[in-house]
Homo-oligomer: 245 residues x 2
């Protein structure tokens, strides 16, 4: 049975495999969760499913586990990326957490014309994705990439991947309104692109609309914050085209 204490660790995992804990992990198990040698927890490495492990030793200086048996098969999300323009720190953290919970396969911060923040702490965002996977019972951790300018992202775009572009002006524009909301969402491989709080520039919007792989969608009659739009668009896609069946 799956323990409530879940830890993402470096692989590989396998029956009888010894696992070295980082100091932080060992402190979390012994100091925060108050587990002792012999206690069990669930571990996963992102590719090998979930495993029951027993603690051999854990203190604030480090520790080791022994991997026992697999308790859940590896479950990867559908091939959906989330591309977003970083906003205020707490909302950026939130987007990474929610995208992980909602089964994004990859999280790509992007720099647009009106992006407030040009730098991100990629390692910190990746740690948020790990923590979200630990919390939500997942066995997969999406990669958080380094921030890239929108131009470069589009120049390198894989031809077979649909780009679902959340266009906050769509509900005002009758030419685009026939697309509706969440209807005719393209299947995987796909990516959802969310703009910054100031929206896309008119040049960016024109360029995005002209791309053959772009699918502009609207998200209802109210203006959504960027973090809300990310959760809403991922939800609609997972329900229509993903693994929510």
């Amino acid at each position: 049975m799956d323990s409530k204490v879940r830890l993402h660790i470096a692989g590989p995992l396998g029956a009888g495999q010894d696992v070295e804990l980082t100091r932080d992990q060992a402190h979390y198990l012994s100091g925060v969760m108050r587990l002792s040698p012999g206690d069990t927890l669930t571990v996963f490495d992102g590719v090998s499913g979930a495993w029951r492990a027993t603690i051999d030793a854990a203190s604030k200086r480090g520790g080791t586990l022994t991997c026992q048996e697999q308790t859940a098969a590896q479950r990867n999300p559908p091939d959906i990326w989330l591309i977003f323009a970083p906003i205020k720190k707490v909302r950026t953290d939130f987007i990474v957490e929610k995208a992980t919970e909602l089964g994004a396969a990859r999280i790509l911060p992007v720099q647009t014309r009106f992006t407030n923040s040009e730098r991100i702490r990629r390692d910190r965002l990746q740690a948020h994705a790990v923590e979200a996977a630990e919390q939500c019972g997942g066995t997969f951790v999406p990669e958080v990439t380094d921030i890239a300018p929108l131009d470069r992202l589009l120049a390198d775009w894989p031809a077979d991947r649909a780009l679902i572009f959340c266009d906050e002006t769509l509900s005002d524009d009758p030419d685009w309104a026939e697309g509706g909301t969440g209807t005719a969402l393209p299947p995987a491989p796909a990516a959802i692109l969310i703009g910054p709080e100031g929206g896309f520039s008119s040049e960016e919007r024109a360029r995005l609309r002209a791309l053959p792989f772009a699918h502009p969608i609207g998200l209802g009659p109210r203006i959504l914050r960027a973090d809300t739009a990310a959760v809403a668009a991922l939800t609609l896609w997972q329900q229509a085209r993903g693994d929510w069946t």
Copy 2:
């Protein structure tokens, strides 16, 4: 044209109507937004649409506006309630903000068996709803009710309102799986019920499932946090049955 500065004020609004500002509002306009007498902003009272107003006076001691002309008609959301068990402060705030953006008509904190927090600051949550409506360009502010025990809420339940009950165990239970996710969501009047982080108790779940007006739904194969579930369920409902068309 609609100003980017938007303020929810006590009504009634009408052409030529003088409006007294609270100290906080006057300080926000003069001290934070750096507006001066003669500058314009958008005001709304929750029932009369959006109006252009000009500042007559604003300082940190108070101020007045004059309401000029209506710039947007009143737009009320569909009759969908969000009922949720309060969680950690920042996530509770977040749920209220997101429910307002996503067009909930009413927000009802509920106390369940495993609800961590038995008290809420209703006035603070209501202020969050107002701020979210100001930010998202809305003209409607959902009422945040006082927290009520689940039992009492169900005892007083209006017979014609469907209760969409997000059941985190649903994906594991073949008897309920045929309902699927987001399919066959009931139309308005409806309410979405999200449990606390610990889920519903088995007694609560059995009771909810037995209610003739209850519609259990699942939200995909990953465990969602309560705040994620609230946003996801509101999104699915708005797209299927609400005003996202």
